[in-house]
């Protein structure tokens, strides 16, 4: 007997491949993700940005911190992307600043998603009152405008002026960025918990922990990944905001501080486009790649968005 895909077109699945553990799930999700053209482009884009950043960890043409060159030179063969108004090499800064930027974006994505998942699942699994309290708490964070919180927390961390590196930035972005995900996870968990297969597990005596880890986490996996992408995007965007507002540590080299210095030097008024555009474009490319990846995920989780090319049968076949 052979397996058929369900002809009513409801769901199509990969054929009987044995899937065990999360690695294979990730692998198979990746494969599905790459089937979509948009997410494929996003994946390649992200991969190249990551490669770029890895190169930047080990090699930059010049020291990105040093003031080595003539000021505000347009792109030339010595300085591929010209120099800043302070005489730093823009390309070196771009290369060297990639890793911290990605690090921030992804750690915000990771931590934010983690908190969101924990809060969301807890809310979905707890008593009615606790759930309502958590809901109100999530709403507080949703309603308070993020930029204000960034400014307040940022000023606070600048105020205590301990040298914490990127930690304050990440903390601020996680504080302001977890709530969206938590709301999603809360409502998804609430709906999943009511499903028969969870009730069934309760009846056969599974512990809550086992249900969460084995079943709920697995069921919301696409949403977790999608939330990770979104929170990472928020991280990248938030970094630029933090630096623009001057509440981050401006002495570090990343794409956000590059913009900060360029804007403070009024590079857009002096016409130094080579200073302001590269970091902007890199950040938007990063965001763009994550959005594209999300597009694929959306279609994965929501089959009604999915399309396949018409493959009408050849009449002669």
């Amino acid at each position: 007997m052979e397996e058929k895909s369900n002809l009513n077109g409801k769901i199509t699945y990969n054929k009987s491949k044995k899937l065990n553990g999360y690695t294979s799930i990730i692998r198979s999700s990746l494969a599905t993700l790459l089937k979509n053209n948009k997410s494929k482009v996003g994946f390649i884009l992200l991969l190249s940005i990551v490669t770029f950043s890895i190169i930047g960890i080990f090699y930059t043409p010049y020291n990105p911190n040093a003031y080595l060159f003539k000021f505000s030179q347009p792109p030339n063969f010595v300085n591929l992307l010209g120099t800043t108004g302070y005489g730093q090499d823009v390309f070196s800064e771009l290369l060297g600043g990639a890793a911290p930027t990605l690090m921030i974006a992804f750690s915000v994505g990771l931590l934010g998603t983690l908190i969101a998942v924990l809060v969301g699942i807890f809310a979905g699994f707890t008593s009615k009152t606790t759930n309502a309290v958590i809901n109100a708490f999530i709403n507080i964070f949703l309603v308070i405008p993020g930029v204000l919180l960034i400014m307040l927390f940022g000023t606070y961390f600048l105020g205590i002026h301990q040298n914490l590196g990127y930690l304050p930035t990440i903390i601020i972005l996680v504080i302001t960025g977890w709530a969206f995900g938590a709301r999603t996870f809360r409502s998804i968990t609430l709906s999943i918990v009511k499903r028969d297969f969870i009730l069934s597990s309760i009846l056969i005596g599974e512990s809550k922990m086992s249900i969460i880890m084995r079943q709920i986490m697995r069921a919301i996996m696409p949403v977790i990944v999608s939330n990770f992408f979104f929170t990472s995007m928020y991280g990248a965007m938030g970094l630029t905001f933090i630096e623009y507002l001057g509440v981050g540590n401006v002495e570090q080299v990343n794409w956000g501080t590059m913009l900060y210095w360029a804007i403070n030097y009024e590079a857009y008024l002096t016409g130094a486009w080579w200073w302001i555009l590269p970091p902007s474009i890199m950040i938007s490319m990063l965001m763009f790649s994550l959005i594209l990846l999300n597009f694929g995920l959306d279609e994965m989780a929501n089959p009604s968005l999915r399309v396949f090319k018409k493959k009408k049968r050849d009449k002669n076949e």
């Binding site: 044995k18 069934s200 009846l203 056969i204």
Partner: protein
């Protein structure tokens, strides 16, 4: 022989919101008294909204009753919780209406049967037991099905997987909530036969909940007719189906579909 399970004036009220006044109460179950003996199938019949699913969920403690008592082997278990609830749940299991929904789409069939064995700390060889259970529900050969996922098998097979899953716990009571209504006509009879077989071979008491009098007449020994949360008629299946007293029961019999009848 003593009853496996017995309810005494079981009542369940739901709160609903109505207009300005706020909360009003709806009785989903109203003083329901039912009992189940080992080695029998009891039918609970009613149209949708009659409270039959509520009854099932109360019996497995997914809902709490508003008042009334539940006895398991003459022991009052109305207020059990924690460990004793866990212990009790091993004895009573429920089969859901929709086998698409009651199996976790992300786990294999083997996983579904293995989990209850693990949670109940099954002492013997787990793999052998899985094979045994799968053979019992006629998922043969077991190797062919083990690594399949729920969406890869038919509705009837899914329902059998589910039955194997609950049998793994060796329960004394099974509550089957419309177990065949979502299945294709050609598959229903197999599942119903399986239920009869379980009753006969394992001596399990089964509460069969349905709106379909045809299947009731096929498998059950006794029935309770439930209407708006009240038991309007109960007794031996044959007696009730041939000479119903209550108007509601009559309407149900009248509405039962039969290819040899004409509308």
């Amino acid at each position: 022989m003593n009853e496996l399970i017995r309810t005494e004036n079981l009542t369940k009220e739901f709160e609903t919101r109505t207009g300005f006044t706020g909360i009003s109460k709806i009785k989903a179950l109203d003083n329901v008294n039912i009992s189940l003996f080992p080695n029998e199938i009891v039918g609970i019949v009613g149209a949708s909204g009659s409270g039959k699913s509520t009854l099932a969920k109360i019996l497995v403690f997914l809902y709490k009753s508003t008042s009334g008592k539940i006895y398991f082997k003459d022991e009052d278990i109305t207020k059990i919780h924690g460990k004793s609830l866990k212990k009790y749940r091993k004895e009573i299991q429920m089969i859901f209406q929709d086998p698409y929904a009651s199996l976790d789409p992300y786990h294999s069939i083997e996983w579904h049967i293995k989990r209850p064995l693990l949670t109940s700390h099954y002492s013997g060889n787990i793999d052998d037991r899985i094979d045994e259970l799968m053979n019992m529900v006629k998922l043969t050969p077991p190797e062919y099905y083990k690594n399949k996922f729920p969406h890869q098998v038919s509705g009837g097979q899914r329902q059998r997987v589910y039955i194997a899953r609950v049998l793994a716990l060796n329960p004394q009571i099974l509550i089957a909530d419309e177990p065949v209504s979502m299945l294709d006509v050609s598959l229903r009879i197999d599942v119903l036969d399986l239920l009869s077989k379980i009753k006969n071979e394992l001596g399990i008491g089964i509460i069969y909940i349905t709106h379909d009098l045809n299947t009731v007449s096929m498998v059950t020994d006794r029935i309770y007719v439930l209407h708006n949360g009240e038991v309007v008629e109960d007794g031996y299946t044959n007696t009730i189906l041939t000479s119903p007293h209550d108007g509601y029961t009559k309407a149900l019999i009248e509405a039962a579909s039969d290819p040899y009848k004409r509308i």
